[in-house]
Amino acid sequence: MSPATVARGSNPLRDERDRRLQRIAGPCGLVIFGVTGDLARRKLMPAVYDLTQRGLLPPGFALVGFARRDWADQDFAAVVHDAVREHARTPFRESVWRQLAEGCRFVSGEFGDEKAFDELARTVADLDEVRGTGGNHAFYLSIPPRSFTQVITQLSRSGLAEQNGDRWRRVVIEKPFGHDRRSAQELDDIVSGVFPPDSVFRIDHYLGKETVQNLLAVRFANQLFEPVWNAHYVDHVQITMAEDIGIGGRAGYYDGIGAARDVIQNHLLQLLALTAMEEPVSFDAQDLRAEKQKVLSAVRVPQDIGQHTARGQYAAGWQGGQQVIGYLQEKGIPASSGTETYAAVTLEIDTRRWAGVPFYLRAGKRLGRRVTEIAVVFKQAPHLPFERTATVELGKNALVIRVQPDEGVTMRFGAKVPGTAMEVRDVTMDFSYGHSFTESSPEAYERLLLDVLLGEPPLFPRHEEVDQSWRILDPVIEHWAAHGQPESYPAGTWGPESADAMMARDGRAWRRP
């Protein structure tokens, strides 16, 4: 017999019917800038370990840290070890760890230091030689935006960004992608001047969450929901991202940014896009992004911005049994700061599917509890063949996608109260992902890091989407900047009164999530 053909893209050991085989990234390494940061310790390093543990990273994988510390490779490995021990999802195994530790390298230096980058280039070349990383490296920039330019320029100067033939170089960047449309464009110019668009991965960790991907499954794998997913049946949509914490130690980052730029621009508008988009032709990156971009391009803020948005700033109060300080009293915040810690906006989508259906987005810190959810609220039945008294307690039907915590889906509908009289009351039907499914399902960063190493872009927003989000948000931010201070709200409540008034003007009210 003659052996099966092996060629690029034709591997006899891969069989599309063989669904047990998960894709392992090819030989490669990951370089993290800003390894001393919170994100690197709490999410990235544990995710790298979890991926190793699941057998999804290639043999010989290398992890390089770059920071302004005077560390040797072992010191860095010790830091990774502690981070893994504390935060990894999967059980700690000495053998798995040792393999990972063997590939740990550290380069010490400032972001502007040419010598340090030359050293990094040598380290990376050495890894290709010793560990067999094959010239494939991803650079994860877990650094403040002001250092972006420096690092990207240095990567370019030291030849680290050069890719040719089978060797790839990719760059991973975190939000914020600029602070308005213009700065986002400038940032993109810098990045795309060095890396081609396919090599730039913008991380929005919400898109890596199982529940967000479940939204696509709920919508497009079922016959039940899509037929009513439009202006005929939907009254409005509420997308909420509430945090119970304050700004903590992030004063330097948060002040001057605020809730709208921090989360609405990225997470909430991405959730909106996934909720409102048309069915993509396939789940390929190109098709998925095309639909998201299309719907984002139809989103607009109502004419009268003042009437349809609201903002607030938390004041001292009691939250969950603890007395907490207000935003202006936080360390490092100027007493005159006008930064909003709560933002709510009404958005309209000019498409046939959504005409007349407002999307209410709100995000805030120090709110009642930590919750992110998408609530699709349906219209009332056009006719209720009951006595009026039978349905006074009946609200609107709703479908709620609980993104975090307690991931799942809730459906709210009317049911008859047991007894002789006809009386209808709201009940809920619950699908709880979180109870058991997600207990051992991958973290968002695991999925996203693996996608970067595999070069799978569907879950990463493209610059065009970022640009659209700023186009939507810029007028709101400008309006707020011109209209004085945000209204204050006591910590531990559900935001300022103006937000409730904004809903009341439309004859609606916020859900208590």
């Binding site: 017999m1 003659s2 052996p3 099966a4 053909t5 092996v6 060629a7 690029r8 591997n11 006899p12 050991l13 891969r14 069989d15 019917r17 063989d18 669904r19 047990r20 085989l21 998960q22 894709r23 392992i24 990234a25 090819g26 030989p27 190793t52 543990q53 057998g55 290639p58 043999p59 010989g60 195994r93 053998s95 798995v96 040792r98 393999q99 990972l100 063997e102 030689e129 010793v130 560990r131 067999g132 094959g134 089978d166 619950d430 699908f431 709880s432 109870h435 058991s436 499914f437 207990e439 051992s440 399902s441």
Partner: protein, 319 residues
């Protein structure tokens, strides 16, 4: 919480389950499947533990049917475990005595979750033809474990003879990571055909047999199976190509090395998979696995037995 129900009926078990749900909030609505474990007394606890671990990914109702003494009169002892004692599942242990022990299916039927698929698992010895077994017949998926049978090689032969598309074996899921690494190695240049392959492993390792069968089917080249002492597990896979061999080797311990011509030796942690991990993989998909079917029925006969050959390219790594 553990509730013991000695000398009971399935009706009582069902009623207690509903009561527990109402009082303790042990809500079993998210359960996506019923896992029926058919086992002897000795392996029962280990199997239930593995199922509980797997339930964190696949919430399920676990029904362990434990065969007891066949003499004496018929008796059913039941035990319900919920909450912390059951992982993310609810566990019902049914111990059968006397003539009833031949009719395990009759106690399982009333306890199956409505409308949810049934998976049958034999963690130890299993019927010669699982698909014709009374419990096996009601399952959409039948999971056996050739390695845990008294005679693993014979077990694999029997699996092949009585194979249906709904059958699968843990010996197959144990090699998934090996297969993934080998497939990844062929994804990259140089794109050369594999002229022949060699799988080295314990004589009693059905996983090594299946891996060899898989290579034979997929690569359409001669595949040799080299047998080492029993209990030594899967040791090494060699794919011979024009430019030199690709060798994935795990001589001892949990670390494997991947050797390719002209490239540095790469190391990777490849510890043996726990039963719970394998079971999780089996529960992930309940549709037929045509690749496994092909390996079992077509691949195994294509593999030849033989000695390891001496090849200078391998640097004499074999101990």
């Amino acid at each position: 919480m553990i509730v013991d129900l000695p000398e009971t009926t399935t009706e009582t078990v069902n009623r207690r389950l509903v009561e527990l749900r109402d009082s303790g909030g042990a809500v079993a609505l998210g359960r996506v499947l019923t896992l029926v474990i058919s086992t002897e007394d000795s392996g029962a606890e280990a199997a239930i533990r593995a199922a509980n671990d797997a339930s964190h990914e696949h919430p399920c109702r676990v029904i362990a049917v434990v065969g007891g003494n066949r003499r004496g009169s018929s008796r059913l002892d039941a035990q319900i475990r919920v909450g912390g004692d059951a992982g993310a599942s609810e566990v019902i242990v049914l111990r059968l005595y006397g003539p009833l022990s031949e009719h395990g299916d009759s106690v399982v039927v009333p306890l199956l979750l409505p409308d949810a698929p049934v998976v049958a698992w034999w963690p130890g010895n299993c019927p010669d033809r699982p698909a014709e077994d009374r419990i096996g017949r009601m399952a959409q998926r039948r999971v056996t474990d050739a390695a845990a049978c008294r005679n693993p090689r014979r077990a694999l032969e029997l699996r092949a003879e009585g194979h249906t598309p709904a059958d699968t074996d843990l010996a197959w899921s144990r090699v998934t990571l090996w297969r993934a690494l080998l497939a990844a190695a062929l994804d990259l240049p140089p794109f050369e055909e594999v002229r022949s392959a060699e799988v080295t492993g314990a004589s009693d390792s059905p996983s090594a047999d299946l891996l060899a069968g898989w290579l034979a089917v997929a690569l359409e080249c001669p595949v040799k199976r080299v047998r080492t002492a029993p209990g030594t597990g899967l040791r090494e896979v060699l794919l011979d190509r024009a430019g030199g061999p690709v060798v994935l080797s795990r001589p001892n311990g949990p670390v494997a090395t991947l050797t390719q011509p002209g490239q540095p030796v790469r190391r990777v942690a490849l510890p043996p998979r726990a039963d719970s991990e394998c079971l999780s993989e089996e529960l992930r998909r309940l549709d037929p696995d045509p690749v496994f079917s092909a390996v079992l029925t077509r691949g195994l006969p294509m593999v030849t037995s033989g000695q390891a050959r001496r090849d200078p390219a391998r640097n004499g790594t074999r101990a």
